[in-house]
């Protein structure tokens, strides 16, 4: 069981239940002591309160939000003044509507394009013999932890001379390049746990590598493909540095850059608008996360070291 939490944890054979389910206890236990319960409640309270405060503030009008604490809005007498206006202002005036579309336009291609490319490579690394294979794979493993700003200075110059500065293409390619080692690593580790006999018998039946890959390996690898896709999507959606360096503020700016530049960085933007902008950035990640938590946990160890 401890082996499931080593880097590159995902395997095909692990039980497909959530990590959050508990193992069956062999000994009967008394219900948790009240002090344990109290401690957990306090911890959860610390986790919820900051986000809850921002959520409440995003529905308050400007005068209230900037002249009194959000907790005063909890008094039912003040509930009448809640408004959706901040979201309208954030989406239209602070241009977060456009930025939301930009974030999608950046994230989706950067998520889906690397999958097939990495899967092909992972297939070769898993099921084919060739000189240099192990060395190349070790290099890929070690590149997993390289921080992505390593590549920025030269790429900025190259993009400048190619006229790619500020375009979506520049960030797609960057994220594809930097997502590749994680994808190959995850896919290869998963494919290595698929039953060999299936591949052997496909070979006996005369199936080519190409056919084996498309008909057998790719469909069988869906869980790990999904877990990479979620990781890469959240990673690109939440990215600030890459977008700042290669796109920057303006009409192509994604949500993270727009919220930082149009709201947080601007003097005089009220807390009501700033928090509404913040909530807008996290709606989609939270939905994706909650609906696909299982796949997310699967890629966790390997995914979190990604540079």
């Amino acid at each position: 069981m401890t082996s499931t939490v080593q880097p590159g944890a995902p395997t095909a054979t692990e039980p497909r239940t959530s990590r959050f389910t508990r193992r069956p206890r062999t000994t009967e236990e008394s219900p948790a002591h009240w002090s344990v319960k109290a401690a957990v409640v306090i911890i959860c309270f610390f986790w919820i309160v900051p986000a809850f405060g921002a959520l409440i503030t995003s529905f308050r009008n400007e005068a209230d939000a900037n002249n009194s604490g959000w907790w005063t809005a909890l008094n039912p007498a003040n509930w009448g003044s809640f408004t959706f206006g901040n979201y309208h202002d954030a989406i239209v005036n602070a241009q977060l509507g456009q930025a939301f579309i930009n974030s999608l336009a950046i994230s989706l291609p950067a998520t889906f394009i690397p999958i097939l490319i990495a899967a092909f490579a992972a297939y070769a690394f898993t099921f084919m013999q060739f000189p240099g294979r192990d060395v190349m794979f070790l290099i890929i493993v070690s590149l997993l932890v390289v921080p992505n700003f390593v590549a920025m200075v030269p790429l900025l110059q190259i993009y400048g001379s190619l006229g790619l500065g500020g375009t979506f293409v520049s960030v797609w390619l960057f994220h594809i390049g930097f997502g590749m080692s994680l994808a190959i690593f995850l896919f290869r580790n998963y494919m290595a746990t698929l039953p060999r006999e299936i591949i052997e018998s496909a070979k006996v039946d005369g199936a080519s590598h190409y056919a084996t890959f498309y008909r057998l390996i790719l469909p069988m690898s869906t869980p790990v493909l999904a877990s990479f896709a979620i990781f890469q999507f959240l990673w690109v959606w939440n990215d600030l540095l890459v977008a700042l360096v290669f796109i920057g503020p303006g009409e192509n700016a994604p949500l993270t850059v727009a919220v930082k530049n149009n709201l947080i960085g601007q003097q005089g933007q009220g807390w009501n608008i700033v928090t509404a902008g913040g909530i807008l950035t996290l709606i989609l990640p939270v939905i994706v996360f909650l609906s696909m938590q299982r796949y997310f946990v699967r890629g966790l160890t390997a995914g979190s070291v990604k540079g």
């Binding site: 990590r19 921002a54 490579a121 070790l138 932890v145 200075v153």
Partner: protein, 327 residues
Amino acid sequence: MGIKIANTILTVVAGVGVALVLYWLLNKLAELLPGRWEDRLKPYLYILPAVAAICLYVLYPGLQTIEYSFANATSTKFVGFDNYTKLFSSNGFQQTILTTLVWIVVAPVAAVLLGLLVATLVDRLSPRGEKTAKTIVFLPLAISAVGAGTIWRLVYAYAPAGQPQIGIQNAIVTALGFDPVAWLTIRTFYLNTLLLIVMFLWLQMGFSMVLLSAAIKGVPTDTMEAGRVDGANERQIFRRIVVPQIMPTVVTVYVTVLIGVLKLFDVVYVMTNGNFNTNVLATEFFNQLFTNFNNGFAAAIVVITILAVIPVMIFQVRQFRLQEANR
């Protein structure tokens, strides 16, 4: 706006389509070769696009950056070790290194200890309580530092004494009769950096908690039972029986958070922009690149970061080899 949506869909479809055609062509190309050559060449053709992407975007620019770190601000002339000596002799950069060290020392250890604490606590709850608590602590992992920044700037917000406090931390402080504090400007004992670490832990702790929790659940109950039979109390069981068995996971979590800290950019950039002695390596890199337009300094900071990452890289490769040997 409609055009952008259409373009996005088109790019996804075209991108995947082009990849499909590319592999079909590469495969056909290999099949044209005589039998033995086909088998020899095919693997390389399969890995070619992926390896090309890595070489083009990671290896080549990485090596180029090392070269630039020995060149001037516009990368037109070599200056030897000038960038490094100038950086290390400037007070600003020394401060940046010190602040980065505070992060390195505090954040990974705090993440492990806190994760361990929460994991052991929720392990004693009912399954439903455990799941709820874990989801709450885990959820911030999905959101960006920018989103979290709007949340935590509100927590640390400051208004001069006498005015109503918007931030909950200052509201508590003033309610207790003290003066409000401009939290993110206090450099004494790195208080502002420590407060940024609190925000970082709020974002990241779910990661260490989930991994450590899985490890704790993997500890065989009979080893704990044996301890109980021998008269060990709960604390002894935890320290002598559970901790040694989850040690590999503790190391993995520590290393992972350490890497996260070494490349940390957005938390600092969003909260303080590196002011008030909160600057770390990645934010200083960004400053040199975009405020000072000094490629030489920026590249030198990258190289310093790489040097710090290399031990982690070696650990990663070793870990992988170990895992392969056990397969």
